[in-house]
């Protein structure tokens, strides 16, 4: 009596996967009449998001460098504009003791509250610096990962997947950086105002105006992140699968 010989992995799920594989084309290496290669399906945004999120989380220090530009620029924008809103609110409160404090701090009660052109210039410059900073940091991060991109393409990733991944990554970093920058800017603005005007700051806190400032900061930060993401993501998507073979680490 003989037993049929069993392979070591008799009923492994992998066997089933290979069993379902279509037969190879018959005939010569150049088989005429093979079906047209189907459209290579795009990979969903959700998958790209997970890949990007993993990257931002596990390369947190690297991401922080990219984010620093946004954090500083948005903190500056938020600080300037919140301070403005707070001072404006204190001026309109028209309390005698407070007016004395305001004058001591060099605020012209009659004209305070308007954003002057020097401030607009400063903010614009800081935002431009931030834009260039993100682009630069993202380009570096793409260069570091040429091999990873090449590997993904070897595995069958389409250009649009690489594009999505790097775009989401830049936007994630931008939005996170914006949030941190907003918090930082507001905290500093309130702290500085309290130094000068003490309890009056909380008494006349212009909640609505500050909310408006934060909204604008968020929109500006997000817009800059999206603008900065486009070039690096497109550059990443153009990398070739053969780049995966690079030997240097």
């Amino acid at each position: 009596m003989s037993f049929p010989q069993q392979p070591p992995h008799a009923h492994h799920p992998m066997d089933e996967l290979f069993a379902q594989r279509p037969e190879p084309p018959p005939g010569a290496a150049d088989a005429p009449g093979l079906p047209e290669i189907p459209e290579h399906a795009p990979t969903p945004w959700g998958v790209a998001f997970i890949v990007s999120w993993r990257s931002v989380r596990r390369r947190f220090f690297r991401s922080l460098i990219t984010m620093t530009g946004v954090i500083l620029a948005i903190a500056f924008l938020t600080y300037m504009r919140s301070t403005d809103a707070i001072v404006h609110s204190l001026v309109t409160a028209d309390v005698d003791e407070l007016n004395v404090l305001l004058q001591k701090n060099g605020v012209d009660i009659l004209t305070a509250g308007g954003t002057d052109s020097r401030m607009i210039l400063l903010i614009t410059l800081s935002l431009l610096t931030c834009l260039v900073g993100i682009i630069n940091a993202m380009l570096m991060s793409v260069t570091e990962r040429i091999k990873e991109i090449g590997t993904m393409k070897c595995l069958g990733a389409r250009d649009e997947f690489i594009l999505k991944t790097y775009f989401i990554e830049a936007v994630l970093q931008g939005v996170l950086g914006t949030a941190i920058g907003m918090a930082l800017g507001l905290l500093i603005a309130v702290a500085v105002a309290r130094q000068a005007y003490h309890g009056y700051v909380s008494m006349f806190m212009p909640a609505g105006a500050v909310a408006g400032v934060l909204t604008v900061s968020f929109l500006v930060g997000s817009l800059i992140s999206i603008l900065a993401a486009i070039a690096p993501a497109r550059w990443a998507a153009r990398k070739q699968p053969v780049d995966a073979m690079r030997v240097e680490e």
Partner: protein, 247 residues
């Protein structure tokens, strides 16, 4: 089915690079048939054109002249998107430096390949777990590459290559970053994949110690095929001169 049809056919494949004024002839007309289910080792020193040839048959690079046929299709006829489809559906790649994505777990690294193939994330995760189990890493699904040894990382890479049930596995110096013992285990695993699933395995190597699993060994020198040896001829030579003089 005609089993004698080659899965890869290279006809007079040549590649010329321009380096400034200079023309570099990396390949000077390589003609070679590789049969389905074969284990082929491509040997050659660096600069021999071995890697260039490897990239040609792996649908990673286009020849300057000549033809490459893969699984019944003429690669020169295909556009970039169709080549990506061919890579995804027919070829599994294994690299010297493993090339796993460092921020993703072993399971995610394998699953992403299957997602590119068109599976949903849930299906892909399940298949990835099966593939990792098959290469002996069923207990390492949630480890990131950094927490795995070199041999384990290369096993993850093999699982990643296998999860799309390819017809061909292309392994570029798969043992180059591994010690001798681990390297032999990896070669044995590749041979097992060939045996059990009928996958054609093509490795590029310059290590004669890794030839034992090969059915065919192809030597490339100066951009040409210098010699092709079958298993039986080879064993005699390895037995007598230990293959040293061949490389």
């Amino acid at each position: 089915m005609n089993t004698t049809a080659p899965i890869i056919r290279a006809v007079k494949v040549a590649k010329v690079y321009r380096r400034g004024e200079e023309e570099v002839h990396a390949l000077r007309g390589v003609t070679l048939d590789i049969m389905p289910g074969e284990y082929v080792s491509i040997m050659g020193p660096s600069g021999s054109g071995k890697s260039t040839f490897f990239n040609m048959i792996g649908a990673l690079d286009r020849p300057s002249s000549g033809e490459v046929f893969l699984d019944g299709r003429r690669l020169t006829d295909l556009n970039a998107a169709q080549l990506a489809w061919m890579r995804c559906h027919n070829i599994g790649y294994i690299f010297q430096a493993f090339n796993l994505v460092p921020t993703m777990t072993a399971q995610e690294n394998v699953a992403i390949a299957r997602i590119f193939h068109g599976a949903t994330p849930a299906e892909a995760s399940e298949l990835a777990a099966a593939a990792l189990d098959r290469v002996g890493l069923g207990h390492r699904l949630r480890h990131v590459p950094g927490a795995l040894s070199g041999g384990q990382q290369q096993r993850v890479a093999i699982a990643r290559a296998m999860v799309n049930r390819p017809r061909i596995i292309l392994a570029d110096e798969p043992t180059g970053n591994l010690d001798l013992h681990t390297g032999e285990e990896i070669i044995a695993l590749l041979a097992e994949m060939k045996q059990e699933y009928g996958v054609t395995v093509i490795t590029a190597t310059h290590d004669t110690k890794m030839l034992s699993a090969s059915d065919t060994v192809v030597w490339i020198k100066n951009g040409r095929v210098a010699r092709v040896a079958k298993r039986d001829e080879l064993q005699i030579e390895i037995g007598t001169i230990n293959g040293q003089a061949l490389a």
